[in-house]
Symmetry: none
Subunit: 204 residues, 4 copies
DNA sequence: AATGAATGAGTCTTCATTCAT
DNA sequence: AATGAATGAAGACTCATTCAT
């Protein structure tokens, strides 16, 4: 949690610092990311940095929480009426929200992915704080699906949830690689629907 | 390629060094892994290390090639009779081999995953040397499946291959977490079969 | 170019660092000169050094530019009225300035000579930035001499210029060795005049 | 002085080692030259090296003595009949010999120049061992010239000798730069003669 | 609140030399 | 006579963090 001094900063300055920090953590893993570089590019002094944040971890956690909040903004609306829609529509909506988040906030998505992959000990704890949310949402969704009869009853839901989260990342990466140049387009939803048909009806 | 001096070492020492290096690369990304720590824990001098290996990359590549060979040992037998078996049996066999490799060589698997995730530029090239194998195998398998009529014709095979590789990793991670204490057990195959049924027939 | 932090230093400290750096580059070629020694003798930490200078080359270039400026202070006055004086007076003045510079700034002269001799590749570029001045000045002087009829027309001026620059170094070295103990004295000019008579009228 | 073991070596091996050592000292100053590289390229073991030579300095001194001997081979014949010829012919012959040596043994010449330039303390002593020869020869020559009346009496011969040695190096370097591509040719003597005319009769 | 100089441990890598076999 | 493994000091450089002003 940044110190109060940070929140007292004029917004412009606060955003500048955060922006450069995001740029750094997008390009480098936590361990390799450099406070030196962030400070330099932000145009603030080293001393100031340590008056805003306790240490590197403090800054990182703050950014992660910002990313988390942003992600929830995308997900929440689609969760509202889960009760009413059927399982597949809900699942599709969830994927769509996640992908839209990634497309509109590529830096945040990249940092998130980086965190998921990192195993440097420090981040282990952090990950455990952030991932359950996503996991639990998927599991809850699947349970509802089982209740509705939309999903087979004999599945290990935690495994399926884990796989589906992994799928979401794979799909986003694939889309990034494929459409790198064309820029963002939600044409991805067409492909996603084919993918959902696959989930639903199997490969065969 | 390590220098000849390394291969001239008494096996015990050679294995000790490699063991400590593996332990290091298992715990840290390439950039963060420390030669200092490796030599310290191996009980050799820094000078000696550089008489065995050209540099950090040389050591890393050597370990990667050892891992690659090991993995091939697991995969090769199952590839033998791909022509004769049907698509799903082959796919199942492939997964089984991959999972067995990961369960019996968790450190190697961890290093492999780490490499796949790394974005430090240096490893980009290395990855391209090692990953095509996996990707291509999956794609080849899927193509054969399409020819046999086992797999639907309207699929983007590269996307499906990417997802299935991601799945394999997810599955392995899941079983690591679940069976951490119980130690390795191939009871996993029972659950995997349920999973394959899912792939085949869909979630519904 | 040193970083701003360096120029912010109290003058005493700044001069101490520069002094020790000059002492190092006077005693050792660029490649052999040691940052470790410089910081140790300056009484600053290694970290501080790299907050003042980007790297070894940065420090070296800064010193070279100081030397260059100093040298120009010696040369400029004598260049003022080249147009009016005859060739031999100009040449003599040029030598005198160079020798005076070397006698009064022996460390600078030594570093300069060292640079001229270096072949380490890095300094090649640097040399090309600094030497043209000297070469060109000599050639310009000789050309003017030819126009005035003071210098024979059948000479390869580039060769003569090269020789005369070498002569200047030889002369300085000679007086260093000879008058090492006696300290600096411009009695050298008497001998130099004999030498110029030699240049003018030949050995015979 | 190399150890006896070195001289017991089969000639082929001895020459190979020396050849690689010469190649190293041609490319790098004494301090920067690497025993590691020499050993590696010679295909001998580190241990062997130190059974042939006491240390780096021992090897270097041996090479310098070889170079010295070679140079004497070029110079001696021309010195034979100094008594009989006039001063300028002798001087011209001396230059010619030196230049021919440099053209036919460029590596040796390069190492020699490097030594002359080096000031690493160690080489100071070495230089003092080797240079007097050259200096003394020039001085002797000039003295004879003075006796014959070929050379003015009012010259500081040690200074003139130093300058003339420097000139020889300048001339060789110039010729190397100018005729780099055309390969070796004694056409240089034509230019040299112009240069001697200059020495003799002065610039004017 | 802001500064920025100071720090020492850390990074990878190369070196000349020794010594037991 | 030959080997080559072992070594520790030294090289340049980066790091996150502290603290006096």
């Amino acid at each position: 949690m940044p110190k109060q001094t940070f929140f007292n900063l004029p917004e412009e300055k606060r955003e500048r610092i955060l922006g450069e920090a995001v740029a750094e953590f997008k390009d480098y893993d936590y361990d390799v990311a450099s406070i030196n570089r962030i400070v330099e590019r932000s145009g603030i002094s080293k001393g100031s940095f340590y008056q805003y944040f306790k240490d590197k971890e403090d800054l990182y956690l703050h950014i992660m929480s910002i990313i988390g909040e942003k992600k929830i903004q995308y997900l929440t609306p689609s969760m509202m009426n889960f009760a009413e829609v059927n399982f597949y529509d809900a699942l599709r909506e969830m994927y769509r929200a996640g992908i839209e988040f990634a497309l509109e906030n590529p830096d945040y998505a990249e940092i998130g992915n980086r965190m998921m992959k990192d195993t440097s000990g420090l981040l282990q704890k952090i990950r455990e704080t952030f991932t359950p949310k996503g996991d639990d949402m998927f599991i809850a969704l699947l349970q509802k699906g089982q209740e509705n009869g939309d999903v087979r009853a004999d599945l290990d839901l935690r495994l399926v949830a884990k796989i589906m989260i992994g799928m979401q990342i794979s799909v986003v990466e694939y889309y990034f690689e494929k459409h790198q140049d064309e820029g963002y387009s939600m044409k991805i939803m067409e492909e996603l629907d084919k993918f959902f048909d696959l989930i639903r009806n199997g490969i065969s």
